[in-house]
């Protein structure tokens, strides 16, 4: 197999790799917000249950979660497995990443000094207004580097989708490697991921820069 055929074949999977990446971010970023809110709830039961769920999601391998989401419904309730593997893959990724994002959000929100809430209260801001107009913009700025970390990790984690044989780029690379007894596809995959993350770095850098309004 020529290098060109190899690259072409693997780029076919790149679209699916990107689909996992983009859809996971679209769903997990807001979902993480909800989870963070539940986690910080004043209700002890809600906050402890959420804490437990987060600890399961962070404490078990993503690979197992992918298997559970894809095949669990079939074995437990006889709901047939989705022919479009993108659906279970994105669900598993989004839930897993939401747990990580939730903890990052919580860290950011809890790092805000109480004085700001008091000051906002004195100025007549409602709780909602305080959060959305005063706290949130500062939180976003603070947590951006941690978010970038997660996003970069997500790019590489997409390769995990091979467990449920979703034909993304790395799955195809692995198949070619064994078919042609060559390590070349892994090198190609490495270059693909590196370029992908180069773009991610660029975009995240731009976003961070746009928020550095004090310098």
């Amino acid at each position: 197999m020529t290098l060109m055929t190899m690259i072409m074949k693997m780029s076919e999977g790149l679209g699916r790799t990107f689909a996992i990446f983009a859809l996971t971010l679209i769903f997990s970023i807001p979902l993480g917000m909800i989870v963070a809110w539940l986690r910080m709830s004043k209700n002890r039961i809600i906050s402890n249950v959420t804490r437990f769920v987060i600890s399961i999601l962070r404490g078990t391998p993503l690979m197992l979660q992918l298997l559970a989401v894809t095949y669990g419904p079939y074995y437990l309730f006889e709901i047939s497995v989705s022919r479009n593997k993108l659906i279970p893959v994105v669900i598993a990724f989004a839930i897993n990443y939401a747990a990580y994002f939730a903890e990052i959000y919580r860290g950011g929100i809890e790092s805000m000094p109480v004085g700001q809430y008091e000051a906002a209260n004195v100025l007549g801001y409602s709780k909602m207004q305080t959060f959305f107009h005063i706290i949130l913009p500062q939180v976003v700025k603070r947590i951006m580097p941690s978010i970038t970390n997660e996003v970069v990790t997500l790019v590489k984690d997409t390769s995990m989708a091979f467990t449920v044989s979703y034909q993304e780029m790395f799955t195809i690379g692995k198949q070619i490697a064994n078919s042609q007894t060559s390590f070349m596809p892994f090198l190609v995959a490495g270059v693909f991921y590196f370029i992908f993350n180069g773009v991610v770095d660029l975009v995240m850098g731009k976003i961070e820069k746009s928020m550095s309004y004090y310098s």
Partner: protein, 273 residues
């Protein structure tokens, strides 16, 4: 900045939609009225020469070609689905494919679990692959050596506790397992291990393309390759077997086999009846 975000979001959505819309399930043909059955063949795309990705990037291999020809005979649409070998039976159960047909060893555990299994079509043997200059000439020489085997293969089952070759494995310095045979071979090439336990055709294909390796064939473990169907699909299995028998009768089977020099025709059951 908002414009930039809006554009990124639009791009993401378009690409995601494109990904969602791709390749709707196989039943499309049926919608045209004349109920054409689509047969989805489940293969391990990492198992040359039986099933793999060829130089053009297409699924190919002995098993794939035979199944394709059989489907043509039966008038079924033919489709290939690449399974993850570690959970092939889960994927079969979950209706992701209609059979597992990919140099698969028939195991008693499959029969016990109720899968419909075809008649065996290939006699496989386990062999030992070593470097030419290793000085290893028989399985007895493996004492105190490091031996590698692929996870989930029948070779691993033989060498593991309770397997037929358990006592042989006990003489090894270490039994190393990896998730694909390409890594076993790389370990052997790089001197991390002294020998690899592997199926005969896989070893033959590797030796044909790489110099400096020798196959030791000692009749270590004989086994049979077959096709697995879901428990309710005995009829489908019979139809497929009949179609393959016809391919054997009209010579197509032998012609396909001739394309794969690493598969010894002596071991092809149907060509030796």
């Amino acid at each position: 900045m908002k414009k930039f975000f809006a554009m990124m979001l639009a791009l993401v959505m378009v690409l995601s939609l494109a990904a969602c819309g791709e390749k709707a399930p196989a039943d499309d043909g049926a919608a045209d009225g004349d109920e054409v059955k689509t047969f989805v063949m489940g293969i391990d795309p990492e198992y040359p020469p039986f099933s793999y990705i060829d130089d053009n990037g297409e699924y190919s291999g002995f098993d794939v070609e035979v199944c394709k020809a059989a489907c043509e005979l039966l008038g079924w649409n033919f489709e290939v689905f690449g399974v993850n070998w570690d959970q092939k039976l889960v994927q079969l159960d979950a209706m992701e494919c209609d059979c597992i047909w990919s140099g698969m060893t028939i195991l008693d555990s499959m029969k016990e679990a109720g899968y419909v299994l075809s008649a065996p079509y290939y006699y496989n043997t386990q062999v030992i692959l070593v470097k030419d200059d290793s000085g290893i000439t028989s399985s007895a020489d493996l004492a105190g050596k490091v031996v590698s085997v692929q996870l989930g293969t029948s070779g691993e089952a033989l060498l593991n506790e309770g397997g037929d070759l358990e006592s042989l494995a006990a003489t090894f310095a270490e039994l190393s397992t990896t998730d694909s045979f390409i890594k076993c071979f790389a370990d052997l090439d790089g001197n991390a291990v002294d020998a690899v336990f592997v199926d005969m055709p896989v070893a033959a294909a590797y030796v044909a393309e790489n110099e400096g390796f020798t196959i030791i064939n000692e009749d270590l473990g004989a086994e049979e390759y077959g096709i697995a169907f879901r428990s309710g699909d005995a009829e489908m299995c019979a139809e497929m077997e009949a179609a393959v028998a016809e391919l054997v009768a009209n010579g197509t089977y032998a012609k396909i086999a001739a394309n794969y020099p690493d598969i010894d025709p002596v071991n092809l059951v149907f060509l030796n009846d």
